[in-house]
C-alpha cells in the first residue's frame, strides 16, 4: 500500500466509524465497533510508521477543487450551526465572531481560491508521524476507556440525557479532524480541520447540557473562534500580499519577510487553542465535561493541535522579536499556571493547570526555535500526552468510586484501591520525577534555553517553574500513598475497558522512557536534521545512567514480594494522647476529636484569582508587543 492511501485512510476511517457510532445505540455493539476501530487505527499506524519513518518528508498531491468545495460547504454548514446556537443561547459574541470569520472565508473562496494552486495537499514527515501516533494510540485508548466510563457516568447521573451515540460520534470526528490537521500541507485544509476540532471540543464540553457546561462550552468556543479569525486572516494575507503561497512547505521555505506575519497570526490561533494565558480559562472550564473528554482535550487532541502548529512554524519565529514574545508568553504561562496548580485541591483543576503550564513550556521552546529547543518541544508533547491522559483517566475511575475529585478526599487511596493508585502514582511520577519523560524533556529544555541569546531568563523561569511543579505533584502523591489502616476496600471490579486503557498508558509511560533513545534517533533526529541541518542528542553516558535509574525504579517496588518478617507496629505519635485506631483522641475539655490532615495550598501566595489576573495582564501585554513587533517590521521593510 502506498503511504498516501494510509494517510487518507487515517483521516476517513474514524469519520466512517463516527457515523456507525451515531447509528448504534446498544452498548455491546458500540464496544465491538470501538475496539475494532481502535485496532484498525493502531495497525495502520504501525504500518505507516514502518513504511514512512525513514523516508523523511513525503508530499502528495491529492484531491481536487471538488474536495476544497466540499470542505468549504461543511465550513459554511458549521458556521450556520454555530450562528444558530449563538442566537439561541443569546451569546452575541460568538455570533459576531463566527460572522466575521465566515465573511473572511467567503471572501477568500469567492475572490482568491480559484487562482491559487497548491501542488501538495497532504504530507507526512517524522513530526507528523509522532503526532499521528499520539492521536491514534492515545486517542483510541481514550475511546476504549470511554466505553466503560460513560456507562458508569449515566448510571451515576440519571438526570443527564443519555446521548452516548452522539458522544462517540463527536469523539471519532475529532480524531479524524486531528489526523487531517497533522497530515495537511494545504493551509486552507489545515484551517478546515482546525475549525472542526474547535466545533468538536465545543460539542463535547457542552455534552451534559447543564448550565455550567453550556456556559463553559461557549467560553471555549469564543476563544477558539478568536484564534480562527486570526487564522483566516493569515489565509487572506497569504492569498493577497503573500503571493498565493498556500502550502506549509512553501510558507516555511518563503523566508521571514513574507512568512512572519501569517506565522504570527497562526501562532496566535495556536495560543488560543493551546490555552495559553490570557486564554487559559476555557481549558480549566472544560473539565465540567465527562472525564474522557478532558483526557482527550488535554493529551492527544485540541491543545496539541495548538502547539503542533506553533512548533511547525518555529523556523519562521526563530530569532525574531515576535518569536521571543511568543516564547515569553509560553514561559510566563508555565510559571504562573504551575503556581496556580499549587493552590488547587480539585484534581482535575490541578491537571488542567499543569497541562496549561507544560504547553507553555512547549510554546517557549517553539518561540526560541533552535534545533535543541524543538527537540525539547516535541519530547514534551510526547511524554505529556501519555502521562496526562493516564492521570485524567485514573482520576475519573477514582471519582466513580469516592464520588469526589478533590485531592483531600483521596487520603489513603492506596489502602482502599491499591491498583488504581499504582496507576496514578506512575502517572504523577511520569509528570515530574527523574528519569521519566517530562523531566527528561525539561532537562533538554534547560540545555536548549542556555544556548539561546537571552536564554538565561528562560532558564531562570524554568528553574523556578519546575521547582513549583515538584511541590504540587509530590503533595498529591503523598496524599494517596498515605496508609490509613481503617479504610475499607473500595476498588471493586474495575471495568475491563477502563482497565485496558489505564494499564496500557501506565505501561507506555514507563516503556517510552526505556525506548526514548530509539524514538529520538529514529524520528526526532532525522526531523531536526532535515529542518535545521543539525541534530541534538543526549550523550551515551547519560542515557545509560537514566536507564539504570529507571531500572532501579521498576525493580525496587518488586522488593515487597520478597519474603520478609513483619515488624512490630505502633500507632503514629500523637503527642502522648490516647488515640483510638481510627485516630480519635480526647482533646481539651474531654472533647472527642478526630485527627485530620490537610495539604498545604498556600492560597495567599498562589491563589488562582490573584495569579490569573497577573498572568492575563502580563501575557496580554506581551501579545500586544508580539503584534507590534511584526507590524513595525512590516513598516520598516
Amino acid at each position: 500500500m502506498q503511504i498516501v492511501q494510509l494517510l487518507v485512510f487515517l483521516i476517513l476511517f474514524p469519520l466512517i466509524t463516527a457515523f456507525f457510532m451515531f447509528a448504534v445505540r446498544k452498548n455491546g455493539e458500540r464496544k465491538l465497533i470501538v475496539s475494532l476501530s481502535a485496532l484498525a487505527i493502531g495497525g495502520v499506524l504501525v504500518y505507516l510508521l514502518v513504511t514512512a519513518f525513514d523516508k523523511g518528508a513525503v508530499y502528495f498531491g491529492v484531491g481536487s477543487e471538488s474536495v476544497g468545495m466540499v470542505m468549504f460547504a461543511i465550513e459554511m454548514a458549521v458556521a450556520v450551526f454555530i450562528f444558530y446556537l449563538g442566537i439561541r443561547y443569546r451569546n452575541y459574541l460568538v455570533v459576531g465572531l463566527i460572522t466575521l470569520q465566515s465573511l473572511a472565508m467567503i471572501w477568500y473562496e469567492a475572490v482568491y481560491a480559484r487562482g491559487i494552486e497548491v501542488q501538495y495537499s497532504l504530507f507526512v514527515d517524522q513530526f507528523s508521524l509522532i503526532m499521528a501516533l499520539i492521536i491514534g494510540i492515545i486517542g483510541s485508548l481514550i475511546c476504549v476507556y470511554a466505553l466503560g466510563y460513560m456507562k458508569h457516568f449515566h448510571e451515576h447521573h440519571v438526570e443527564i440525557p443519555d446521548r452516548r451515540n452522539w458522544f462517540f460520534f463527536v469523539l471519532f470526528v475529532f480524531l479524524s479532524a486531528m489526523f487531517g490537521l497533522v497530515f495537511a500541507n494545504n493551509i486552507v485544509w489545515v484551517y478546515f480541520f482546525w475549525e472542526i476540532t474547535t466545533l468538536c471540543s465545543f460539542l463535547l464540553i457542552g455534552y451534559t447540557k447543564t448550565e455550567e457546561a453550556t456556559a463553559n462550552a461557549f467560553t471555549a468556543l469564543w476563544m477558539n473562534l478568536l484564534g480562527g479569525i486570526a487564522f483566516s486572516g493569515a489565509i487572506l494575507y497569504l492569498a493577497t500580499l503573500g503571493g498565493g503561497i498556500m502550502g506549509l512547505d512553501q510558507l516555511l521555505a518563503s523566508g521571514k519577510v513574507i512568512a512572519l506575519l501569517p506565522a504570527v497570526l497562526i501562532g496566535f490561533a495556536g495560543l488560543t487553542k493551546a490555552a495559553q494565558l490570557p486564554f487559559s480559562s476555557w481549558l480549566v472550564g472544560a473539565m465540567v465535561a465527562p472525564t474522557p473528554v478532558s483526557a482527550l482535550l488535554h493529551s492527544s487532541t485540541m491543545v496539541k493541535a495548538g502547539v503542533y502548529i506553533i512548533v511547525r512554524l518555529a523556523p519562521i519565529f526563530q530569532g525574531t522579536p515576535s518569536g521571543y514574545a511568543l516564547a515569553f508568553i509560553g514561559a510566563f504561562t508555565f510559571l504562573i499556571a504551575s503556581g496556580i496548580a499549587i493552590s488547587r485541591s480539585n484534581a482535575k483543576q490541578v491537571l488542567a493547570y499543569s497541562t496549561i503550564a507544560n504547553l507553555g513550556l512547549v510554546v517557549a521552546c517553539a518561540g526560541i526555535g533552535t534545533y535543541e529547543a524543538i527537540w525539547a518541544a516535541i519530547l514534551l508533547i510526547i511524554f505529556h500526552a501519555i502521562s496526562k491522559s493516564l492521570l485524567f483517566m485514573a482520576v475519573g475511575t477514582v471519582e466513580h468510586r469516592i464520588s469526589s475529585r478533590d485531592i483531600e478526599n483521596m487520603r489513603g487511596l492506596i489502602t482502599c484501591m491499591p491498583k488504581i493508585t499504582a496507576m496514578m502514582v506512575i502517572g504523577i511520577a511520569g509528570m515530574f520525577l527523574a528519569p521519566f519523560g517530562m523531566l527528561i524533556s525539561k532537562w533538554v529544555a534547560i540545555r536548549a534555553f542556555i544556548d539561546a541569546p537571552l536564554g538565561f531568563i528562560f532558564v531562570i523561569i524554568l528553574a523556578f517553574g519546575s521547582a513549583i511543579t515538584v511541590f504540587f505533584w509530590a503533595k498529591w502523591m503523598g496524599k494517596i500513598i498515605t496508609v490509613v489502616p481503617d479504610k475499607v476496600h473500595l476498588e471493586g471490579k474495575v471495568d475491563p475497558n477502563e482497565w485496558i486503557a489505564l494499564v496500557s498508558l501506565a505501561g507506555l509511560t514507563v516503556i517510552t522512557c526505556f525506548i526514548f533513545p530509539l524514538i529520538s534517533s529514529m524520528l526526532l533526529e532525522p526531523f531536526l536534521l532535515a529542518n535545521y541541518g543539525v541534530s541534538a542528542q543526549l550523550s551515551q553516558d547519560n542515557i545509560t545512567i537514566m536507564i539504570l535509574m529507571l531500572f532501579l525504579l521498576v525493580v525496587l517496588p518488586l522488593s515487597v514480594l520478597l519474603p520478609h518478617h513483619r515488624h512490630k507496629h505502633v500507632p503514629a505519635y500523637m503527642g502522648g494522647r490516647t488515640t483510638t485506631p481510627d485516630m480519635h483522641f480526647s482533646g481539651s475539655l474531654g472533647m472527642q476529636r478526630q485527627m485530620e490532615l490537610s495539604n498545604y495550598y498556600l492560597d495567599s501566595w498562589f491563589g488562582e484569582a490573584k495569579l490569573r489576573k497577573i498572568g492575563i495582564g502580563l501575557c496580554t501585554a506581551i501579545l500586544a508587543v508580539m503584534f507590534l513587533a511584526v507590524a513595525l517590521r512590516g513598516v520598516v521593510l
Binding site: 532558564v459 523556578f464 511541590f471 507496629h569 503514629a572 490532615l597
Partner: protein
Amino acid sequence: MISIVWAVIFILLGPVAGGIIAGIDRKVTARMQGRFGPPLLQPFYDVGKLFEKEHIVVNETQIFYVVCYFIFIVFTGGLFFAGADLLLVIFALTLAQIFLVLGAYSSDSPYSHIGAERELLQIIAYEPMVILAAVGMYVVTGSFTVSDILAFPRPVILLIPGLFLGFLYVLTIKLRKSPFDISTSHHAHQEIVKGVTTEFSGPSLGLIEITHWYETVFLLGFVYLFFAWNPVVSAVAVIVVYLLEILIDNTNARVKWQLALKSSWAVAAIVGLVNLAALYYLRGA
C-alpha cells in the same frame, strides 16, 4: 568521562567521611556553646546503637521509602563523584528527597505530615538556586559534566561569585542547619517533634542518618567544584564553608518557612539574573 573508581570510593568511604564530619560538627558546636562535647566518633556509636534497636514501624511501606531514599542519595553522590552530568545529579537528588517525603506522608501522622509539607517547601526553596549554580558552571566551562568542570583550568568561582553565595545560602537548608532546619532538626528545639523523621525509629532512623552523611559529603563536593582549579584552595574553601555553616547554625534561631522560601527565592532570582546576565554579556563580548 565517567569514572567508576571515584563512585566506588564515594560509596565505600562516603559514610566514614560523613560520620567524621558530623563528629567534628558536634565537637565544634559544643565548644561554641562552652561545652566539652562528645568524642569524635560519637555519631558512629549513635548509629550503631540505632541498628541494635527493635525495628518498630507505623506501617511496612515506610521501610521501602527509606531504603529508596538511601539508594538514590548514594546514587546521586555516586554519579557526582563519577563525574557525570550535573543536572542529572540534581534531578537524582530531587528523586531521592521525594522518597523521604513520601516516607513521611505514608505514616498518616500529624507531626511527620507537617514535616513532609515543610520538607517539600524546602525542596522548592533550594532547587532553583542549585540548578542555576549548575547552569552558571556550564556557561563558564561549556560543559555540564562534573569531570569537565573539574578539569577546567581557570577558577570558576571568579566568574560566578554571585551564584556561589546563592548556593551557600541554600546549602544551609540542605545541611539542615538553623535558621533553615524547618522540616526536621538535629537540635532539640523543634515544635514539630522530629518533623519528617518523627515516625522512623531504630534501623530506619539509622539509615536516614547514614544517608545524611552521604549527602553532606556530596554537598561539600559541590562546594569543591566552584574552586576546582586548585585542589589546595578548594580544600580550604570546603573547610571554611563548613565551619561557617556551623557558626550560622549556632548563632541563628530557626525562622518560619515563609521567610525561608521567600528569601531563598529572592536570593536565587537576584544572583541568578545578575550573575548570569553578566556571564552572557561577557560571552557575547
